[in-house]
């Protein structure tokens, strides 16, 4: 029984079958990659996992509870954090404030009226956020305007914001899309470090094979909205169907 | 039945003014991404173009008429328009009578220049600024325009009649085969409706069938791509601003015989036309026109006694009520595109 269980998920947009009978199981503490060519339904699947879309049929269970019909913030509160293709951060706030917000979200839940304490008095939260920044080697940037940082730093900040919530599952949506080879390698290193330091489950949606094969424990290949095959990276590399459907074109 | 027909006519008439203003607002918003709070003021300036032309045509010299006395008992000073003394009573008089339609020729260049100057001198610097700044600066401009007009034309409405031929009313009911004397409708309002329809048609045709229009439409959809093609989209957008101003100005000029122009008529129309634009869907030209007519007709029907007796005060709030219902049920307005003016 995996921490995330997707069973028989279907999703149609008009005449287009975006997802057809998707089954997926992500084991706790593993890194599970979902790959597939453009239009394979990766993003649709992700949106179904985070509550942005509701599948027509099927179930998505996280840690034994259904996520269907829940809003994004509720799903996050269940323990799923998400990293976006382009880093989504609070551009107008400082780096430290960016990390503080998930700290508060974890402690106080989806809504709380802590309108009378100043942020400066919340020593625990500040310590925790600073600790996270130090872990991510960003402590020196704490007072920077988040919007004014480099793209790599923004990605790093976004990771920090997700990790400080101590999620049980981290969803990464093409974390290296549009990055240079060097940045991509840095990101891979970062993810490896993260994985090395704590128990965390990751689901990565990616089409860069280099990233996938460097990180993943298991890989699901999607094609035309349905899982083609699911296996370990070694087996996937040699799988004929996969080569035909995907790798063949790019290899 | 005749009441319903009449109210529909009224509604279309009201709606055509809303539609024209909303059309210009949407053009500006769709092309330039600017929320123009001065658009009502442009409508007002258009109306005062009609007043100006009528004043210019009646520029006069004074003749002392010894046979009559003025209110102080002095010999009466009588104004004699130059036109009448040059061209004679009939020709001069006719030209003066036709000052409102003639004003169109004056309004178009004035509004194009005003629009062009506004865009180049002011709006241009606000493309990258938040919408709140755009609203504030154009609102400031609207106040300035309106106060200047007030300073020179006064606060009272100024009667600006339509040509005598078109002032009366006619039996619309008899025309469409109903009992005579049941549906009487003023000529000028029909003229206004037809004029608006023509302008709306012209704008759509212009956007649909000219290269210029095609580029502008492409730019509305995706500004960056068009820019990449090496087309100077900004320049075309500037011209579009001029055209939008001219549309608002023409709407105002032709409206002058219906409502005597006054300096605050722009503000009276501003809020309504924004509601129209939003109900139609931000950035959708057909939406703006549709919503304009729709709200005009609804407003007319809500002032019928039968309806007012059931819901007292409904004519006071109908527009806003409709706006709320539509925005809650159709988040992007009637014909709005996804993503426009959302986060």
């Amino acid at each position: 029984m995996g921490i995330l269980e997707v069973k028989g998920v279907n999703k149609r947009f008009g005449g287009l079958q975006a997802l057809g009978d998707v089954n997926l199981s992500v084991t706790e503490n593993s890194v599970h990659a979902i790959i597939g060519p453009n239009g394979a339904g990766k993003s649709t699947l992700l949106n179904c996992l985070v509550g942005k879309l509701i599948p027509d049929t099927g179930s998505v269970m996280f840690n034994g509870q259904s996520v269907l019909g829940r809003k994004p913030h509720e799903i996050n509160q269940m323990g799923i954090s998400r990293v976006f293709q382009t880093p989504e951060i609070f551009g107008d706030l400082t780096v430290l404030e960016n990390v503080l917000i998930p700290c508060f979200a974890r402690r106080d839940g989806a809504f709380s009226m802590h309108a009378f304490e100043t942020v400066g008095q919340e020593r625990d939260m500040l310590d925790e956020a600073m600790q996270m920044l130090e872990d991510m080697n960003m402590a020196d940037k704490r007072d920077m305007h988040a919007a004014s940082m480099s793209r790599g730093d923004k990605r790093r900040l976004e990771m920090a914001m997700c990790l400080v919530q101590q999620p049980r599952l981290l969803l990464l949506d093409e974390p290296t899309a549009g990055m240079s080879r060097a940045d991509t390698n840095n990101t891979i290193e970062l993810l490896k470090q993260i994985k090395g330091k704590r128990d965390i489950t990751m689901a990565i949606i990616e089409h860069d094979m280099h990233v996938v094969f460097s990180l993943a424990d298991r890989i699901t290949v999607l094609a035309q909205g349905s899982p083609l095959v699911e296996d370990t990276p070694e087996n996937i590399k040699g799988h004929p169907k996969v080569r035909e459907a995907y790798l063949g074109e790019s290899a | 039945m005749d009441a319903i027909l009449l109210q529909t006519l009224n509604g279309l008439d009201k709606g055509s003014a809303y539609a024209l203003i909303a059309l210009g607002l949407t053009l500006i918003f769709g092309t330039l991404g600017v929320v123009n709070f001065a658009h009502g003021a442009l409508f007002m300036v258009g109306a005062f173009c009609a007043v100006t032309v009528s004043r210019l045509l009646t520029l006069s010299y004074t003749v002392i008429d010894e046979t009559r006395t003025d209110f102080l008992g002095n010999p009466m000073k009588v104004d004699m328009p130059y036109l009448k003394s040059w061209l004679g009573e009939t020709v001069g008089g006719t030209i003066i009578d036709w000052s409102v339609p003639l004003a169109i020729l004056f309004t178009i260049p004035v509004m194009l220049v005003l629009g062009y100057a506004m865009e180049r001198g002011l709006i241009k610097h606000f493309y990258k600024r938040p919408h709140a700044d755009q609203i504030l600066v154009t609102f400031g401009l609207a106040i300035v325009l309106q106060e200047l007009i007030k300073h020179y034309f006064g606060a009272n409405p100024i009667p600006t009649p339509a040509p005598p031929m078109l002032t009366g009313s006619f039996d619309f009911g008899a025309l469409v085969g109903m009992d005579p004397n049941q549906v009487i409708y003023p000529y000028w309002r029909l003229v206004y409706f037809l004029f608006s329809a023509a302008i709306i048609g012209a704008v759509f045709a212009f956007l649909q069938f000219t290269t210029f229009g095609m580029v502008v439409r492409a730019g509305m959809a995706d500004r960056e791509t068009v820019g990449l093609l090496g087309i100077n989209i900004d320049r075309r957008f500037t011209i579009m601003f001029g055209i939008a101003a001219a549309v608002a100005g023409l709407a105002g000029t032709m409206y002058a015989p219906i409502i005597s122009p006054n300096y605050h008529m722009g503000m009276d129309f501003l809020v309504l036309s924004f509601v129209v634009v939003v109900v139609g869907g931000m950035g959708s030209l057909p939406g703006a026109v549709l919503a304009g007519f729709l709200l005009g007709v609804l407003e007319s029907f809500s002032s019928m006694n039968e309806i007012k007796n059931i819901l007292p005060g409904i004519d006071q709030i109908i527009i806003y009520l409709v706006a709320i219902v539509i925005l809650l049920t159709r988040p992007r307005g009637l014909m709005g595109r996804k993503g426009v003016m959302e986060e």
């Binding site: - | 610097h125 700044d133 609102f139």
Partner: protein, 409 residues
Amino acid sequence: MLGLEKKDATLLLVVIALALAAPILLNPFPTESAMAQFNAGYPDLMQKFAIYGIFAIGFNILFGLTGYLSFGHAAFLGVGSYSAVWMFKLLSMNVIPALVLAVLVSSLFALVIGYISLRRSGIYFSILTLAFAQMSFNLAYSVLTPITNGETGLQLSLDDPRILGISQTADGGIPLTSLFGLAMRDSVAVKLGGWSFEFSVGYYVCAILMLVCFYLAMRIFRSPFGLMLRAVKTNQTRLNYTGLNSRPYTLAAFVISGMYAGLAGGLLAAMDPLAGAERMQWTASGEVVLMTILGGAGTLFGPVLGAGFIKYFENIFSKINDSVLQNWFGFLPDGVENVVLWVVEHFVGPGWHLTLGLLFMLVVIFLPGGLMEGGQRIAGLLRGKRKSGGDGGGDDPEYHPGQTPHVAE
């Protein structure tokens, strides 16, 4: 101090000092001098400064922090005024119950209107709030006249059934609004040389409430709650994917700012027991937007400054008439005087709207951060090159130069 950081504590102390000394600071010119025209230190105007300051501070909690631009906040001001006057009519002339009811009723209104309007964002939100406010205004002016007294405005009369108080004073007048016997109209005038200063009870009641509101706003700005509101403004998507529900945050901000507006409306009625429908008109809502942006949206002190500016213009510039001008420029030779008069006449008296319009344009064009930004720039110039970034002004957390994504969208 009071749980504030040093910088904020200093700001608060400065504002307290300014507010308490306002009767003196706003009357800088001797009473008999020609410049006395520009004195603003009389009770009514000072009360307006404080009251509209409260209104703008509250509006800023919504707009400055979350970026949601409400075009209907005047409705809450109006509702507050009506509630307060009804309290004076029915219960007691004491301002406390009136203010309490004003805040309660306006918060209820804000809850309902906010709950519906906040289902949409951007300009759709603005239009929804505008629509609600215009409906309130139109109805208050006409159909709801039994409650609002329509055009004339709700006033006290000699036969009000005041439960805890008297309907008429012994000499047949309407009793005054008061705070436990201290009448709002009471004041002390002090003559000092050529100067005259008037210290009014009403003003100090307003000023103290304004200071309390300012302090509360400061706490909100610096609190985790305030942080969330600023997060709403900069990126709602991220906020939702961080496990936070933005709707209750915005609704809370909306209701809080509605309560501020209600308090302001109640205070208007407490100072001058009348509530007119035009207090709810969209132009009145526009005014608070202008105040906030003119002063500097998102800054703590800006809205108060903006409110003061606009009320000053409305009350001082409009009163400069021809004979005053002739007084000032009488020394000039006739021809020159006429030219000067012709120019100046455009901008004062009936032309004060023009001046205000131009001022808005200039501020928005050259000082996007409002008057606060102007102040910071001047301060920066004065400090000269001694400082180049680093701490202090450089990364003032209050000032967001970046594009605010869903302001008015």
